[in-house]
């Protein structure tokens, strides 16, 4: 197997559907969501660490505005993403001496299966297809990873900032 130079933690679990209020949420299902969305990405990063160190690689953790906003009925998925944002930021600092970079990316609302599952009764055809984020990915992978490490990006946002 060749070296890993890019690790994208994309797979996520929306949790219980229909999305419950926290007060009534199943705790077992909550633990399961945290396991998938928060613990597993770290497990993968730990596994890939030696190779990422060798390649001075980049880790991209896919996050969500639900991790910041406090939307009603988004507490399960949202808290897993809030946790992942902190994991991303902390890892960016901790892995800097190893030459490994970490960013978080919120792709924004898109017409995907998961988005439909989150809004089962809604017509989501007004949301853009995932292709709308392609320019962002093309831009991101052409930046110097060490310059952008620690950033949290919105792929559909108006500003993709390069920190000074």
């Amino acid at each position: 197997m060749g070296g890993v130079c890019l690790l994208v933690n994309n797979a996520s679990d929306l949790g219980e559907t229909p999305r419950p209020e926290l007060a009534r949420a199943s705790l077992d299902r909550f633990r399961q969501t945290l396991e998938t969305n928060l613990v597993s990405p770290l497990a993968l990063i730990q596994q890939a660490l030696p190779q990422l160190q060798q390649s001075h690689g980049l880790v991209i953790n896919i996050t969500s505005d639900a991790g910041e906003a406090g939307y009603e009925r988004w507490g399960i998925y949202g808290s897993s993403k809030a946790g992942l944002d902190l994991v991303s930021k902390t890892l960016a600092a901790e892995l800097k001496p190893l030459g490994i970079s970490v960013v978080a990316v919120d792709p924004g609302d898109m017409r995907t299966q998961m988005h439909q599952e989150a809004f089962p009764d809604e017509d989501i055809s007004d949301r853009p297809l995932p292709e709308v984020t392609l320019p962002f990915w093309a831009w991101l992978i052409h930046q110097d990873p060490r310059t952008v490490s620690g950033m949290r990006y919105e792929a559909q946002g108006a500003l993709w900032e390069i920190p000074a």
Partner: protein, 349 residues
């Protein structure tokens, strides 16, 4: 805002096909229209600019220099033109394939198709989401070396191509623009010196322009997709803008590119040092926060530039000013006349 609100008539004989210095004038002898906060217009020569500003005002200019961004290319369709727009890396650009200088696309090109430029190749990876005439394009060698060898300035059917010099301004320092940020073109050394002598500040930022936007296609102006441009607002510039605002001076953007950069760097209370890529669309829904005035050229109908202008003054006043420009025979486009717009007071509703 509806698309037709940005529509107006202006005869094609008012397209400037020559730089003023090739019409026997100096760069700073182009016409200058001023739109005042009350919505009335006055008509001047560009050399009057210093008399229209006062001590303590601050001009913010774009320090991006123009590239020879138009390349001849060969495709399965024959000889075409590839205009580079925005750099993502040495070898990856957003680019616009055109039939020719005068004939735009979109061309019937397939994803993955390879264009030939000299002995290098340009692979069309993916058309830009929402803007099918633009492509994410991968070059086999750095595009700058192709530009050095084969490139010429991007130009359109209304004007022949001129030497690269004609597409640079007094402030062109950092190469990167696909097309000239032309608002500062009439600022000559003598105008510059007069401004400085009068205590009018001049500071710079960088925004590398992409290819010209075409007419907005969406019925709702605000829905139009815009592509990103690389920019940098240095700390010293942010400080100068904030200090000018704090002491009641007026901040005048020289060019729509400067408005875009400053609004991107606006954090809700001040401008901060900021760099990266911006696709911010400034329109009546977003408003403008940083600038009190805009010095710009005369723009085409139904473009995002006009949507930006209508954040500074009502759309009726934009239309009135443009009607006067036609009546007074102002020339359009990068070699044409100038327009200084003072922001109108926001009407409370």
């Amino acid at each position: 805002m509806k698309r037709e609100e940005l529509s107006f008539e202006r005869p094609t004989e008012l397209f400037a096909s020559q730089p003023p210095e090739m019409r026997g004038q100096s760069r700073d002898e182009v016409r200058l229209m001023v739109t005042w906060p009350e919505g009335n217009n006055s008509h001047h020569v560009f050399t009057d600019l210093p008399t229209l500003l006062k001590q303590g005002d601050l001009l913010v200019v774009n320090e991006s220099a123009t590239l020879p961004a138009s390349l001849p290319a060969t495709s399965q369709l024959g000889n075409i033109r590839l205009n580079l727009s925005t750099r993502f890396s040495d070898n990856l650009w957003i680019a616009e394939p055109r039939w020719s200088v005068s004939r735009p696309g979109p061309l019937p090109l397939e994803e993955g198709e390879t264009l030939q430029i000299g002995d290098a190749t340009a692979k069309l990876l993916k058309s830009y989401p929402g803007i099918p005439r633009l492509w994410l394009t991968q070059f086999s060698i750095p595009a700058t070396s192709l530009m050095a060898k084969y490139g010429e300035p991007i130009h359109y059917s209304y004007a022949p191509v001129y030497p690269m010099e004609a597409y640079q301004t007094l402030f062109s320092i950092f190469p990167g623009s696909a097309e000239m940020p032309s608002a500062a073109r009439p600022i000559t050394s003598r105008v510059h010196n007069t401004l400085v002598a009068q205590g009018i500040g001049i500071t710079g930022l960088t925004l590398h322009t992409g290819v010209s936007s075409l007419e907005i296609e969406d019925e709702i102006v605000e829905h139009q997709a815009l592509y990103p441009e690389t920019f940098h607002v240095p700390a010293a510039t942010a400080n100068a803008v904030n200090a000018t605002r704090a002491r009641g001076g007026r901040v005048v953007a020289v060019g729509t590119t400067v408005v875009r950069a400053l609004e991107t760097a606006w954090n809700g209370s001040m401008v901060r040092a900021c760099a990266g890529s911006t696709s911010l669309y400034v329109h009546p829904g977003t408003g403008v926060h940083v600038v009190d005035g805009l010095l710009t050229g005369l723009h085409d109908p139904v473009t995002s530039h006009l949507a930006m202008l209508s954040t500074l003054m009502s759309i009726d006043h934009v239309r009135k000013a443009y009607a006067e420009a036609v009546e007074h025979r102002y020339l359009w486009h990068e070699f044409g006349g100038s327009h200084l717009i003072w922001k109108q007071q926001v009407e409370s509703n």
